[in-house]
Symmetry: C2
Subunit: 209 residues, 2 copies
């Protein structure tokens, strides 16, 4: 297998953290997003969407999308389960992970891409060009305020995103909280539950990935 | 188990179609979204997000989010698998399903909620209020044009979303194509591959759900 990555990008980072948690090592190729390598003819043979991460299997099959790749790795490396340990727990991890993706990762992405000069006409990733919408960047920042306050409330009663079980949902939330710095949003200092959780996750060696 | 539904809403419909494909029958409660029942105190005890669908388990646990519910049902009713039949196929279904969700379902939702008078201040579902952004509604319609043309190209080489295997990704795509009517977008008549696929899926009894 070969993992197409970009060391500075938040989406492939989620896969890197998951691999580190599971102790998986996969040959990794850096894709130079800063210089548009993801849109090169060579890379679009690997992923026509022009996006990282990609997990290329030995038979040449390319797996794309963060969660599909993570779930595949969970399935072939089931030790240290990160998607839940029974059907109900798996559904709870899945549910909150989807919300963290939509309300955290996507909110930062909208805030960032719709207001950053280098992304004129590239307000969304993928093969199609879309103009920036300044109001969408502003809404992204508002959504991050709610993202932080919702997490603060949630973590008053949970050690991790689902009870006391560290899961892929914590990886998503952690990546989103750190990605939020790109739009100058950070956890308010009075959010003691969220900060406690953040420090706890930050101490895991995997988050250096 | 109890399934909280709204017969006219596109998100719970995806679960209904999956249940029909699998031949599952679950006691169903209609939630009156038109009159805001999802935001009532009684319903928010079941789902604090104020959203359908919800699958309430016999012990009172509420499972939320379309895909988490569908995946849970796949796990407890594994006959007639709709998420793939081996790890690679599951990853491929997952990957394209995520794209169909983002580029189809979400695009219609953005186009619809950001331009419909009844959704002033309610541009996103969930507990927080957000103002409408007219440019986001317009972008949603542009994205649907690309959604249709991408599917047309994809279906030139695939009977269904993943090869000749009918999966949950086809349910997502079908729900998105029909949801697009809400913003007066329909498949262009020259898109013969997409229309062939649509008719083929439409003929399945499950789509009456």
């Amino acid at each position: 297998m070969k993992f197409y990555d970009c060391a500075t990008a938040p989406s492939p980072r989620r896969v890197r953290i998951l691999m580190a948690e599971k102790g998986i090592e996969i040959e990794t190729v850096q894709v130079d997003l800063m210089n548009g390598e993801q849109m090169s003819e060579a890379f679009r043979k690997i992923n026509p969407l022009g996006e990282v991460p990609v997990l290329e299997l030995d038979d040449g099959t390319s797996l794309t999308q963060v969660m599909a790749i993570c779930r595949y790795l969970e399935e072939i490396y089931p030790d240290i389960p990160l998607f839940g340990r029974d059907p109900v727990e798996r559904a709870r991890v899945d549910s909150i992970n989807d919300q963290l993706q939509a309300n955290g990762m996507v909110a930062v992405m909208e805030a960032f891409r719709n207001a950053t000069p280098g992304f004129v006409n590239r307000a969304m990733p993928g093969p199609h060009n879309y103009e920036q919408i300044p109001a969408l960047s502003e809404r992204g920042k508002l959504r991050l305020d709610n993202f932080f306050s919702d997490l603060e409330a949630h973590l008053a009663n949970n050690q991790y995103m689902v009870d006391d079980y560290f899961s892929v949902a914590d990886i998503t939330a952690f990546a989103a909280v750190e990605f939020a710095r790109w739009v100058k949003k950070s956890v308010p200092e009075e959010y003691s539950n969220l900060l406690r959780w953040y420090q706890q996750v930050k101490q895991r060696p995997s988050t250096a990935a």
